[in-house]
């Protein structure tokens, strides 16, 4: 990596190859840039524009100022979805990370068959949210006295089971990578100084895997906030009480609002709020955990 410090901002370049590449802009950068505009940039800009308009299609648009935002804030269903999503994200964050860390910790010890166990834990992560949701919906609903779509509590814990099953293996991989980078001599020195297993774990291992913890908390928190497929399949927001889906998360609430033609402006305003929320959480999270990392 030391080579890449040649230029102030870390990019390597040379006049010998720079000019010829620049002349081939249309071949190298243009295709990706055009698609990026179609698939992200234009929809994003149009999304912000439409959030202050009332519209049924993109050609039938009327400026309404911040009315959509006011309606979004006043929407009981949206507020319920916000609270529920925050709860799901917070509880799943703790469960997934604690489980994943201890699985990773155990599977970096000298135990027989650990590579096989690692592979097993990772498998569910490859299964997409829809299929995964169906597998668990079938199993959980037949274990419980009533379906998850009738009892909101069951829906919540069912979702926790599904999220853990899917994400523990993924986070485990990141924790294993972190644990393997902990200097062995530090652990041995602590042992010689008389620190027991827990003390070594707490004082030596944990501070050294802080970068992995940063990545994993950040990932599981945003995963929780953006969850859609599993929520759709497991309960689809049900049970509904006074017109409000008790297990409806933000992403599902927004998607449902879009499907009502005269609510699209409100849906787009909700989507902008959702975007701001997810971005803000990512930034705060990143700063908060980064500051606790061991300086090396």
């Amino acid at each position: 990596m030391s080579r890449s410090k040649k230029m102030a901002d870390g990019a390597l370049t040379s006049p010998l190859i720079r000019k010829p590449i620049q002349r081939m802009f249309a071949v190298f950068l243009l295709p990706t840039f055009v698609c990026f505009c179609i698939g992200f940039l234009w929809p994003f800009i149009q999304g912000i524009y439409l959030s202050v308009h009332s519209f049924t299609t993109t050609t039938n648009v009327k400026y309404v100022g911040f009315q959509n935002y006011a309606k979004a804030f006043a929407d009981q269903g949206f507020r319920q979805a916000f609270g529920y999503t925050a709860l799901v994200a917070a509880v799943s964050l703790v469960l997934i990370n604690v489980l994943a860390f201890f699985v990773a910790y155990a599977l970096t010890q000298e135990i027989r068959g650990r590579n096989l166990y690692r592979s097993v834990f990772f498998i569910p992560n490859l299964i997409g949210g829809i299929v995964l949701g169906y597998i668990w919906k079938t199993i959980i609903d037949s274990l419980l006295p009533v379906s998850m779509s009738i009892q909101a509590n069951y829906g919540f814990w069912g979702l926790m089971v599904v999220m853990c099953w899917q994400q523990v293996g993924y986070m485990m991989i990141i924790y294993i990578a972190g644990l393997q980078a902990v200097p062995m001599d530090m652990i041995e020195a602590a042992r010689i100084d008389g620190a027991n297993g827990w003390k070594t774990l707490w004082n030596i291992t944990l501070p050294n895997v802080m970068p992995s913890i940063t990545i994993c908390t950040f990932l599981s928190l945003t995963n929780g906030f953006k969850l859609y497929d599993q929520n759709l399949v497991l309960t689809n927001g049900a049970p509904v009480r006074r017109g409000i889906g008790q297990t409806e998360m933000l992403a599902l609430n927004i998607a449902k609002t879009f499907s009502t033609a005269n609510q699209r402006g409100v849906a787009q305003a909700k989507a902008v709020l959702f975007f701001i929320l997810v971005t803000a959480i990512s930034l705060i999270q990143l700063r908060a955990t980064r500051s606790k990392e061991v300086q090396q």
């Binding site: 080579r3 990019a11 950068l29 990026f36 992200f40 010890q109 068959g113 166990y117 699209r264």
Partner: protein, 288 residues
């Protein structure tokens, strides 16, 4: 990130032996949901509901008839959606790998203000949730006539470019310039330099990005659901989700069989390139 860097093996203590046994049990439990689905795919529809956890017996066992029913039931043929899934995943991943690696090389070697702007927009796009653009993206795709299975890879390239460009730029920055300069002195144009010198060196990142894109596109539900006309074109996740609505009462046995069919490619993919998948996932996680 190297998974190969293991500590030297010592003799197992009794505690480690116990831990090994505990994990053997947990691993079996971890795979139980998949085993239950597999088991029930051989049971008659009625028994799937009433005795989900029982092994198939003489009464409930129906052989492969669930599979035969599964691929034909509903109002959409299963293998057509499997075909669309394979096509869209392969073409989208190929297109993303080719275009974004070229773009990343341009961005890091030219490094002019425009390239920097594109790069930072790509990084920015990684944190934007799909709901933010779901309506406008589907609409844009429809207006530009990109709402067909053959053209949806362009939409995937657009929405997925962020992570891919980010990962490729990170890698290209670490490639020494001398090779490219030597190629230029020997009279190679940028295209030849890229494809004969740079592209082969990108191999580890190509695999990592490829794995991430395959997993994303194959499992994606909302984007094809919004962009495609789902009465005509379905992918596997859409097919599974629509089994309920399309047939009145759901044939659970057949649903189980279809879930098994949809898991087979994933398991094969995992067994074939497990190392690359784990590396790719670990590399993709380290964004930011």
């Amino acid at each position: 990130m190297e998974m190969a860097k293991e500590r030297p093996r010592e003799k197992m203590t009794s505690g480690q032996k116990a831990l090994s046994v505990v994990f053997a049990v947990i691993s079996v439990i971890w795979l139980l949901p998949i085993a239950i689905v597999l088991m029930n795919s051989f049971k008659e529809n009625g028994y799937v509901n009433s005795e989900l956890f029982a092994l198939p017996n003489a009464n409930s066992y129906v052989g492969f008839s669930n599979y035969v029913n599964g691929v034909t039931f509903g109002n959409y043929p299963y293998f057509l959606s499997a075909g669309y899934s394979v096509y869209i995943t392969v073409v989208s991943t190929g297109l993303i790998l080719l275009c974004t690696s070229m773009a990343a090389w341009y961005i890091s070697r030219v490094n002019d203000p425009f390239s920097k702007v594109v790069y930072y927009l790509c990084v920015f796009s990684m944190v934007v949730p799909f709901q933010m653009v779901m309506y406008t993206l589907a609409n844009t795709a429809r207006v530009l006539r990109l709402d067909m299975p053959w053209t949806i890879p362009i939409v995937y390239l657009g929405f997925g470019a962020g992570l891919a460009v980010f990962m490729f730029v990170g890698f290209v920055k670490s490639i020494p310039l001398e090779i490219e300069e030597a190629a230029a002195i020997d009279g190679c144009g940028p295209l030849r330099t890229f494809f004969s010198a740079v592209f082969p060196m990108l191999k580890p990142t190509l695999i990592s990005v490829g794995v991430l894109e395959i997993m994303w596109v194959w499992n994606d539900y909302l984007l094809p659901y919004l962009v495609l006309d789902i009465t005509v074109y379905r992918t596997i996740p859409i097919h599974i989700q629509y089994l309920q609505g399309s047939y009145g009462r759901v044939d659970l046995g057949a649903t189980m069989a279809l879930i098994v069919l949809s898991l087979i490619p994933i398991i094969v993919f995992y067994l074939a390139c497990q190392k690359h998948i784990i590396k790719g996932v670990a590399a993709g996680a380290v964004k930011g």
